[in-house]
């Protein structure tokens, strides 16, 4: 019983760890994309994203 529950809690902890790792990767990629599309300065990025920055009310110009 004790062994069983400790196996369960180890499995639970490792799946939680996996979820946190996936969340961290998603967060970095998500913020990276929003930063690139919404904040980045290079002129080509700004020009391509111009209308969407205005539409989504990101500070532009």
């Amino acid at each position: 019983m004790t062994a069983n529950s400790s196996v369960n809690s180890t499995a639970l902890a490792s799946s939680r760890l996996e979820a946190l790792r996936a969340a961290a990767i998603a967060l970095v990629l998500g913020f990276g994309l929003v930063w690139l599309a919404g904040f980045a300065y290079p002129e080509s990025v700004h020009d391509a994203s111009h209308d969407t920055r205005h539409a989504l009310s990101f500070p532009c110009h």
Binding site: E18, A26, G30, H54, A55, L56
Partner: protein
């Protein structure tokens, strides 16, 4: 897990982004193009030269790609937030997360920096970007504290996080614009609607795609 998270973000973001790009095409973009006509006329009057870098189909394509990038980013951020807070990822709940994200990045930031058309007076860009980002993050954290934490202290901190950034909003520029006020008002309203749809759709689709991919995994 990581593959499923990324796949969900990309698929949900792609579909939401294409739908929002279509919405922009008939709501905000025509207003931006109209404002640019006034801006160009003013520049011509002043003897300066100004023209948009892209036009026609290439402009529509670039805008759509940018919108898809935003939507995939939004979808991944919503996924990360739900995973971090230990929430079940389901369509209705994910759409609610999207609604809160809209309150943070759309409503709170618009109080200090109203959606702007080209040709409106502006202040220093970096200062506005920093305030925008700080306000969105603080409001998001504040909403989480208010809605998800039980202690009274957490709720007080939550309210403070939502209200305080508004006191530091950048000073608005002297209201000068080449675009008519009527156009600017319509743009502000359209922009808020497009933002609301972006987040809600990204959220709902994240929940839906996640459910489909999880089911597929169980079957196989």
């Amino acid at each position: 897990m990581i593959a499923r998270v990324l796949m969900t973000g990309v698929i949900a973001g792609l579909v939401a982004g294409l739908a929002v790009a279509a919405l922009q095409h008939v709501t905000t973009t025509p207003l931006i193009l109209a404002a640019e006509v006034y801006e160009t006329a003013q520049h011509a009057h002043d003897g300066a030269e100004a023209s948009a870098a892209l036009s026609g189909l290439s402009r529509t394509a670039a805008t759509s790609v940018a919108t898809v990038a935003f939507s995939i980013g939004y979808a991944l951020i919503l996924l990360a937030a739900m995973l971090l807070s230990g929430d079940a990822i389901a369509p209705r709940r994910a759409a609610l997360w999207g609604a809160c994200a809209f309150a943070a990045t759309g409503l709170a930031t618009s109080l200090g920096l109203a959606p702007q058309l080209p040709g409106m007076a502006e202040t220093d860009l970096a200062a506005r970007q920093i305030w925008w980002l700080a306000t969105a993050l603080a409001t998001g954290a504040g909403l989480f504290a208010l809605l998800r934490l039980d202690s009274a202290a957490a709720k007080i901190v939550g309210v403070a996080l939502i209200i305080l950034p508004q006191f530091f909003a950048p000073q608005p520029a002297t209201p000068e614009s080449t675009a008519p006020a009527e156009l600017a008002a319509r743009f502000a309203a359209s922009s808020l609607a497009v933002q609301a749809v972006s987040w809600a759709l990204a959220g709902a689709l994240v929940g839906l795609v996640w459910r489909l991919l999880s089911r597929e995994r169980e079957v196989s």
